[in-house]
């Protein structure tokens, strides 16, 4: 039984909205960015965090990385409480080495004034992992790991293509030999023909370096390729969590079903049942009472409007937060389709 590398329990993070006056300000409301997220990430696996903009996936990742503190709930890394880890400067530094991030836009996350070599060396220097000739060698070996050439070390970020820049970000993340890498939309800003290169590289590195990934994306197609488990978020909550194939073959939450049916499949002969969702995502300042999805859900009953449902296990490691789904009240949705 593999250990869980990361465990989030009922994590909440509210951002205050303030009205400013001349000498004081007043908190008028809170944006409930993350509102009770529970999630586990088994060691050496990839968990996908999917959802639409504003659902709280990036905030969840920042909490997992220890970059922001949750208002309540607990975060455990390798079984130890994160607030305790960060409380001690020695273990905090160790944690920073073990958890690394790769962001969506490789251009804004690389310092334009530094060469690629310096960028990749920086974490090694900060953490005192190598010096002198060893440092140079470590840097070149990192560049080779992400299939960059030695001469790239002398280039500046603006001289590289988008795909190459993202490779630099990955090399920098690998410098401290992390256990967990948080990938926040790592291929969304890349061109179509480059995406597959980076996705394949990430899969290869995960095997070779024994990494665990938290893969954040709004693109369910890449999630299907990359992940072992998937958590679907809606308005600050995880509404469904299951092993990838189980989730895609047997989506149970009406939101997951709608999300899957909305994704265009690159084959014109595919005819699918489309479930176009009406309306927009409600405002996270004022989320609906009861189940947050009830305002857009065609199966919502009185119970859904009044009471909130937690994630419950329905078998096969499949968890869903819905009143109706476990009772069989929601027709199954299949991505299987008819071909003309």
């Amino acid at each position: 039984m593999p250990q869980d590398i990361l465990e989030l329990k009922d994590v909440k993070k509210y951002y205050p909205l303030t009205e400013r006056y001349t000498f004081r300000s007043r908190v008028t409301a809170y944006v409930k960015a993350v509102d009770g997220v529970s999630l586990t990430l088994p060691e050496q696996s990839t968990v996908g965090l999917v959802g639409e903009s504003g659902c709280g996936k990036t905030t969840t990742a920042k909490i997992a990385a220890g970059l922001i503190r949750p208002d309540s709930g607990s975060v455990k890394f390798m079984g130890a409480d994160l607030s305790e880890i960060l409380g001690d400067s020695g273990s905090a530094k160790q944690f920073r080495r073990s958890v690394q991030l790769v962001y969506q836009n490789p251009y804004s996350s690389l310092d334009p004034m530094m060469t690629v070599g310096d960028i990749v060396k920086e974490p090694l220097i900060i953490h005192g992992l190598a010096r002198g000739r060893e440092l140079e060698e470590a840097m070149y070996s990192l560049l080779r790991k992400v299939n960059l050439e030695d001469y790239h070390a002398l280039r500046y970020p603006h001289e590289l293509s988008g795909g190459q820049r993202q490779r630099v970000c990955i090399a920098r993340a690998l410098a401290t030999q992390p256990k967990l890498v948080l990938l926040d939309e790592p291929v969304s800003s890349l061109d179509l023909s480059i995406r597959a290169q980076i996705l394949n590289l990430l899969v290869e590195l995960k095997e070779r370096e024994r990494l665990s990934y938290l893969y954040i994306s709004h693109d369910l197609a890449t999630v299907r390729q990359m992940c072992d488990y998937v958590a679907v978020m809606y308005l600050g909550r995880v509404v469904e969590y299951a092993p990838t194939d189980e989730l895609f073959n047997n989506p149970m939450h009406p939101y997951t079903q709608a999300l899957l049916s909305a994704i265009p499949i690159p084959d014109p002969r595919v005819k699918r049942k489309r479930m176009v969702l009406e309306g927009d995502v409600p405002n996270p300042v004022n989320p609906p009472e009861g189940c947050r999805f009830h305002t857009r859900c065609r199966y919502a009953s009185q119970l859904c409007r009044e009471r909130d449902q937690k994630l419950i296990e329905v078998g096969n490691q499949h968890w869903v937060a819905c009143w109706v789904a476990p009772t069989g009240g929601i027709p199954s949705y299949s991505l299987e389709y008819t071909r003309e």
Partner: protein
């Protein structure tokens, strides 16, 4: 049936300090009535510049240096700026990727729609107000009265894009150019907008030029497709032809490299990078990345080959720019 719009050997170059960027270089395709024609390509493929060229709004230092754009019996490139103004918004209109950037934050939706209607039609203010409401209904906005009084920031991204589409329809155009209309939107909202595009095609007989890099969207809404790469057309054909019997190696490579939501497939990455358009590769621009390239591909630029084309345009014509398309057998998913 005559095509609604025909682009013939269009060349649009940008005269920059670094050199001449041949953003669109000998591009041609035809758009038939009441169809959705997708222009697909990656960044730098020239799809947006092609759209800008059709409306003659290419930004400096860009210039249309050659070709023809035939629309309603005239070559748009021969028109005076004054005549062109009667085309833009009235006969051909444009919606862009980011509706927040195209709507004026200082004016209500009603003000903006009425302005667009009065500029493009002969209606007076009162009639224009009625028409504004009708347009919002046409783009299926619930509660149009409230939306008319709103400012753009009060609307969601999906609503803003619907308003932008309503404004584009103000002058009853025949052709709508949609440049990445759903890229800034979430998938569930994207599905609503795509549904709307389909109904505009069917109910108004609009021809839509849909510019996108998303092959999923193309497969779902387009009738015909032109695949572009580095300022050139690779091939054109019906959506079924493009996805199920691609003739150009680039099309095939793209299809094999996209992840799919309906099944887990091994992604076959396209090696290399998108070329620099100041010094594009000699010969076929895709040859450095093409698994089928032979010596000829690196020397001689491939010309247009028509395949099973119909003289009367009742069927979409199939065209391809590849030296080897007859010899190589492309495998598809």
């Amino acid at each position: 049936m005559e095509p609604t719009l025909q682009v013939e050997s269009l060349r649009t170059y940008f005269y920059t300090e670094a050199g001449v960027v041949k953003a669109v270089d000998d591009v041609g395709f035809s758009v038939r009535p009441s169809t959705i024609h997708a222009l697909v390509g990656e960044s730098g493929s020239g799809k947006t510049v092609t759209a800008q060229s059709i409306l003659r709004i290419v930004p400096k230092p860009g210039r249309i240096v050659g070709g023809r754009i035939v629309f309603e019996g005239r070559n748009l490139l021969d028109l005076s700026e004054r005549q062109m103004r009667m085309v833009r918004g009235r006969r051909i209109s444009l919606i862009q990727q980011d509706p927040t950037a195209t709507l004026d934050p200082m004016f209500t939706i009603q003000d903006q729609l009425v302005e667009a209607i009065m500029v493009t039609t002969e209606l007076d203010r009162e009639q224009a107000k009625k028409k504004a409401r009708k347009l919002l209904e046409d783009v299926k906005i619930p509660g149009p009265e409230n939306v008319l009084k709103s400012y753009p920031h009060q609307l969601s991204g999906g609503m803003r894009q619907r308003v932008a589409i309503a404004r584009a329809l103000a002058g009853n155009p025949k052709v709508l150019i949609a440049d990445e209309p759903t890229t800034a939107l979430d998938v569930t909202i994207q599905a609503q907008i795509l549904e709307l595009m389909r109904s505009l095609r069917d109910e108004y007989g609009l021809s839509i030029i849909l510019i996108t890099h998303d092959l999923g969207i193309v497969a779902q809404v387009a009738d015909e497709v032109t695949v572009m790469y580095a300022g050139k057309v690779c091939e054109s054909g019906s959506v079924d032809d493009i996805f199920h019997s691609p003739l150009h190696p680039y099309t095939q490579a793209l299809l094999l490299s996209v992840p799919r939501v309906d099944k887990r497939v091994r992604l076959r990455a396209i090696p290399g990078n998108i070329p620099d358009l100041v010094q594009p590769p000699q010969g076929c621009r895709f040859h450095p990345r093409c698994p089928y390239a032979v010596e000829r591909c690196s020397q001689e630029e491939p010309g247009l080959e028509k395949v099973g084309s119909q003289a009367d345009h009742t069927l979409p014509s199939r065209s391809v720019y590849c030296h080897r398309f007859r010899e190589i057998k492309l495998e598809v998913v």
